[in-house]
Symmetry: C2
Subunit: 148 residues, 2 copies
DNA sequence: CATAGTTTGTCAAGTAGTTAACATCCATGA
DNA sequence: TCATGGATGTTAACTACTTGACAAACTATG
């Protein structure tokens, strides 16, 4: 078969899903999808440095540095120095930020459950497993390991 | 299961694949992945208007309009008016543009075949079919139909 | 201890997209 | 026929990223 066809299919599917997530988040939480990812990723870590968060998000340190003021202005994230360490910053969700991250994640989860409820003919657990398998297999490849 | 997990898996897989494609294209053809998509999409249509090409690429008309000079400067694409139609422009690959699109697509196809050659334990045809099925099913949903 | 190297965070400049506004061209129907 | 409405292509201003350069702060080694 045409082996690049599957990459197009994947891209299309991801586009549809991310667009849906973005619309839900904008409509209900005044949040873009990428702002949502920022908050959720930050929540999943324990007071990360900007540098580490950048790595988790797959963007540059500069990108995180530039976006921080937006979250600080809205009192969603606090930036602090750890005493005895003049070099690294420490990022943390505020109570408000944590509430927003949790609520929006729960909401999205519920929406996707509805979205997927009619896909009876497809075993989604199975599909997830297969996709992870493919990712793992591709990852064995030295070229790809360097990318991520 | 956590139904949003699959969306993360999909995003990660797409990121890995697109990064690999981008690196191959830059290294071998001085082309970014999105420039490649521009050329390949243009090639797959018969002298489309910028507006139609934008729709195919899933970007705005403004984006296509802004990028056209880059391709014209490199003599990869010609922009012309159809006589008797003062409104629409007509886009076409030059001979050089067509050669580049064809060669880079063939190259990428070959590389992905190598990449996928060790995924014996996964039936990629089957996976592609399943992904298309999921996309179809989600598409039934009125909300998503409006997005794409 | 000094110093050479590494990591971090930020800034500046560049790229690729967006939306909104606009002029222009074409089609359509009163 | 002509006025109006819709689609097209361009521009301007904005957003979110990139890379490269940099200073400051740590780390490790002679």
């Amino acid at each position: 078969m045409n082996s690049s066809r599957i990459t197009f299919t994947l891209n299309e599917l991801v586009y549809v899903l991310n667009s849906a997530a973005d619309r839900h988040l904008r409509a209900n939480f005044d949040l873009t999808y990428s702002q949502f990812l920022f908050l959720v990723t930050l929540m999943s870590q324990n007071k990360p440095t900007p540098s580490f968060l950048a790595e988790c998000l797959g963007v540059s340190r500069a990108a995180v540095s530039q976006r921080l003021p937006w979250f600080q202005d809205r009192e969603l994230v606090t930036v602090s120095r750890v005493s005895g360490n003049e070099k690294n910053l420490s990022l943390e969700l505020t109570r408000k930020g944590e509430a927003l991250a949790t609520q929006s994640a729960d909401f999205l989860e519920k929406e996707f459950r509805v979205l997927f409820q009619n896909t009876d003919s497809v075993d989604l657990d199975d599909l997830d497993k297969t996709l992870r398998r493919v990712k793992q297999l591709l990852f064995r490849n030295r070229e790809l390991r360097n990318a991520a």
